[in-house]
């Protein structure tokens, strides 16, 4: 079998050389096809915008060569074919016979192998089976490549358009990646409530859809601008919601709404008083009282609107100007008479150093830090007409101690304030409070609230800014 190993070695050498030649042939063929197609593509790219046409053409050429190499692997000649190839070079079918009868041990087969091995001693494989370079095929291949590069080098407007489109696509890809990254981040943020997350995701998905259907760079700018605006609006909306929630919370906490209602009531009462003095000494009907009440409420909220003013004026038998003047006078009277909201802190109470808030023995209904009612230090202090028995009790307000409800509701050791009990309930006789003190208390309370709840930092900043603005 030793002689056959030598024979097999020669056969394999022949096969290797055949494979190389096949690779050169098929590689040139595939490369030529690839480069010609690539050249054709770039030729078309002179008139039609085709992104990356040059690289595509080059890729097609390389792909063609690789395809040729791939096919070579599949078409790699077998040992029999290699043996026949060697036999055709003067071995007179000695190789193929030896290969087929390699396992036979009869004298003739052994003699045949020995004889073939001897023949191979004078069989230079490299010379007998030379690797022939396919110069013609390679020439065609190079021609195809040259055609491709020439087409690539020819400048044209279509190529510029294609380049611009490519840049645009890169931008879109980059923006898309960023948006998708942002979506992942938002999805992972637990501090954002699901509703906000969903809103943001919808917004980003819309933007992605727009990006996919975008046609030019201006469109990209517009899309991103729209996204920016939507985000700002969403941010504002969310901030408003949080701020609204905070203010609602503060109003609930500090009974601001009640104070406003009280203010409206005071204005209505003052207006009634004015109306009686000026236009009806005999008294007011319920209808007129209701009209004044509505006018006062409307005036307190937004100023009188046309229809409301007309309706109230008709009921009261006044002109619109008269009614407006009446209400302004009533408002002025309240201010002059010290009838003011504690939240305004604009009172001119001579005893105005009293602490704000209800005392322990104060009005249980209000339970807020807002003082209401007439200023007992003012000679022009407002008193509701027609009130019932009036009693006054001392109310002790602590010295600017804030931070908990007990302090806000006052203590028995502070300076005294007074309230008047009327038929309609309690009415403060006026406690003069320092504006900064009240603002400080409100601020502290707001801070406490926003730190005790899960509130986004942005909203916290808004609340803080608001209350710090009050202090200024």
């Amino acid at each position: 079998m030793e002689e056959f190993s030598g024979i097999l070695k020669v056969i394999k050498q022949i096969r290797r050389r055949m494979t190389i030649m096949e690779f050169l042939r098929l590689g040139c063929f595939g490369g030529t096809i690839g480069f010609l197609l690539g050249g054709l593509l770039n030729f078309l790219a002179i008139w039609f915008p085709i992104p990356d046409a040059g690289w595509l053409g080059l890729g097609m050429g390389v792909l063609g060569i690789l395809a040729g190499a791939e096919v070579t692997l599949f078409r790699r000649p077998g040992l029999s074919k290699a043996a026949l190839c060697g036999d055709a070079r003067g071995l007179k079918e000695g190789l193929i016979t030896a290969l087929e009868r390699r396992d036979k041990q009869d004298p003739l087969s052994r003699a045949q192998r020995e004889q073939t091995a001897q023949m191979l001693e004078n069989f230079p494989v490299a010379k007998k089976v030379p690797i022939k370079i396919p110069y013609f095929s390679m020439g065609i291949l190079l021609t195809g490549a040259l055609f491709l590069f020439l087409c690539v080098l020819i400048p044209s407007p279509a190529k510029e358009v294609a380049a611009a489109e490519k840049e645009l696509q890169a931008l879109v890809k980059e923006q898309t990646a960023q948006i998708e990254e942002l979506e992942k981040e938002i999805a992972g943020m637990e501090q954002i409530d699901p509703e906000s997350q969903e809103a943001m995701m919808d917004l980003l998905e819309q933007t992605l859809e727009e990006l996919r259907s975008m046609e030019d760079e201006a469109g990209l700018d517009k899309i991103m601008e729209r996204l920016s605006m939507k985000l700002v609006k969403e941010e504002e909306r969310r901030q408003e919601e949080y701020f609204s929630e905070m203010t609602q919370m503060a109003r609930e906490s500090l009974s601001l709404d009640e104070s406003i209602e009280q203010q409206k009531q005071s204005l209505a009462e003052a207006a009634e008083s004015q109306y009686k003095e000026q236009y009806s000494e005999s008294g007011l009907t319920d209808e007129m009282k209701e009209a004044l009440q509505n006018a006062a409420e409307s005036y307190s909220e937004n100023g009188l609107e046309g229809e409301q003013l007309t309706a109230a004026a008709e009921t009261l038998g006044l002109t619109e100007e008269e009614l407006t003047e009446l209400l302004e006078n009533a408002q002025a009277q309240i201010k002059e008479g010290g009838l003011q909201l504690a939240g305004n802190n604009e009172g001119n109470n001579e005893n105005g150093n009293g602490e704000n808030g209800n005392g322990e023995n104060g009005n249980g209904e209000s339970g807020t830090a807002q003082g209401g009612g007439a200023d007992n230090g003012s000679k022009t202090g407002f008193e509701k007409t027609g009130l019932g028995t009036t009693t006054q009790e001392e109310l002790h307000i602590p010295q600017r101690e804030v931070g908990n409800d007990e302090n806000l509701t006052g203590s028995a050791t502070g300076e005294a304030s007074y309230y008047t009990e009327t038929d309609n309930g309690l009415s403060w006789n006026g406690v003069m409070k320092d504006y900064r003190q009240v603002a400080g208390e409100y601020t502290q309370e707001a801070y406490k609230r926003i730190t005790s709840r899960e509130v986004p930092d942005a909203v916290k900043d808004i609340v803080k800014n608001y209350f710090s603005g009050l202090a200024d």
Partner: protein, 328 residues
């Protein structure tokens, strides 16, 4: 079964000596001598065709002298009867009783020269059929085996048609080879003159025995032959059949019938023998191509186009070889 390679080499050497011995009496015709030997070594009959005076009969007689085996010559004539070839039953008086006894004819020899075989009637020609194929002779109820090795070497003259009977296809198919004896070159003719006219005697000694021939036949049967080469031989035969898918255009155009399977057998065996006589232990495509002509030429039946255009079987076979080689 071949015992060892030395035995093979010994027989090959003897065959080469046979060629040399024949070469003493027969000038030129190297290829014919080689092909004749191939037929002898592969148990085949040979039809030699040539114009008169080319030494066909002389060649066979010389061969018979070189081979140390029995030889008989039958001159085929129109009045030759089958019994004149095979033998006949004679009434013999033995022990006072007359009884038939078979008297063997001239066919009972190792080498039978059927000289000018086409001059006998088809009836007589047919007397050779059994002997050529089965190597037996049947007379009445008796079948007798012919001596081994047995071969018929026949000659015929292609240019004389009058008084001749063309061999039937079945008869032709039984010849392994049909050899064309060509006219010798000037040099060869000069050498022939020196031998034949000068009165010099040629000393020819027998070299190869019947046993040697039979041994050689066994060796040839075991001779390695690659599948591709064997397939090539078969394709040649198939390509000669106009109706076959692998038929070559020349066959389709000029042949009525292609070569029989005996042609494939002949190519197989003689190509092996040729390789062996050349000292190779494997058969090449060239060996197949070399024996394709003598093995196929008498087995092709030309159509009218070929005859009218003067196309010979050899032309068609060469075309077939060329066509099959390109495809192969």
């Amino acid at each position: 079964m071949v015992e060892n390679i030395e035995q093979i080499k010994s027989v090959i050497d003897k065959v080469n000596v046979v060629e040399q011995e024949i070469g003493k009496a027969i000038i030129g015709q190297r290829d014919i001598i080689r092909q004749l030997l191939l037929a002898i070594l592969t148990d085949g009959n040979v039809l030699l065709e040539g114009v008169p005076g080319l030494g066909k009969t002389q060649l066979i007689k010389t061969l018979a002298r070189v081979l140390d085996i029995s030889f008989s010559r039958i001159q085929f004539t129109p009045d030759l009867m089958p019994a004149d070839v095979t033998g006949t039953n004679l009434i013999v008086n033995e022990d006072g009783k007359n009884q038939f006894r078979f008297a063997q004819g001239p066919i009972f020899a190792n080498i039978v020269l059927a000289d000018e075989i086409n001059r006998a009637t088809p009836k007589t020609q047919s007397a050779l059929l059994e002997a050529m194929q089965e190597k037996t002779v049947t007379s009445g109820r008796q079948t007798l085996r012919l001596p081994q090795p047995f071969m018929v070497l026949a000659t015929q003259n292609p240019i004389e048609n009058e008084g001749t009977y063309p061999l039937p296809e079945a008869q032709l198919d039984r010849f392994l080879f049909k050899l064309h004896i060509s006219f010798p070159s000037l040099e060869e003719l000069k050498a022939i003159m020196e031998v034949t006219v000068s009165g010099k005697s040629v000393d020819i000694r027998p070299v190869l025995t019947g046993e040697d021939i039979l041994a050689m036949r066994r060796i040839i049967l075991e001779m390695p032959m690659a599948e591709a080469v064997a397939e090539y031989a078969l394709k040649l035969v198939v390509a000669s059949h106009p109706e076959q898918a692998g038929a070559q255009p020349a066959a389709g155009r000029y042949l009525q019938y292609g070569a029989s399977p005996r042609a494939a057998q002949a190519i197989y065996q003689t190509s092996r023998a040729k390789a062996l006589l050349e000292g190779r232990y494997h058969v090449s495509f060239e060996d197949v191509e070399a024996v394709a002509l003598p093995a196929m030429r008498h087995r092709l039946v030309l159509n009218f186009d070929a005859v009218s255009e003067g196309i010979t079987p050899d032309d068609i076979i060469r075309e077939i070889i060329r066509g099959v080689k390109d495809v192969h």
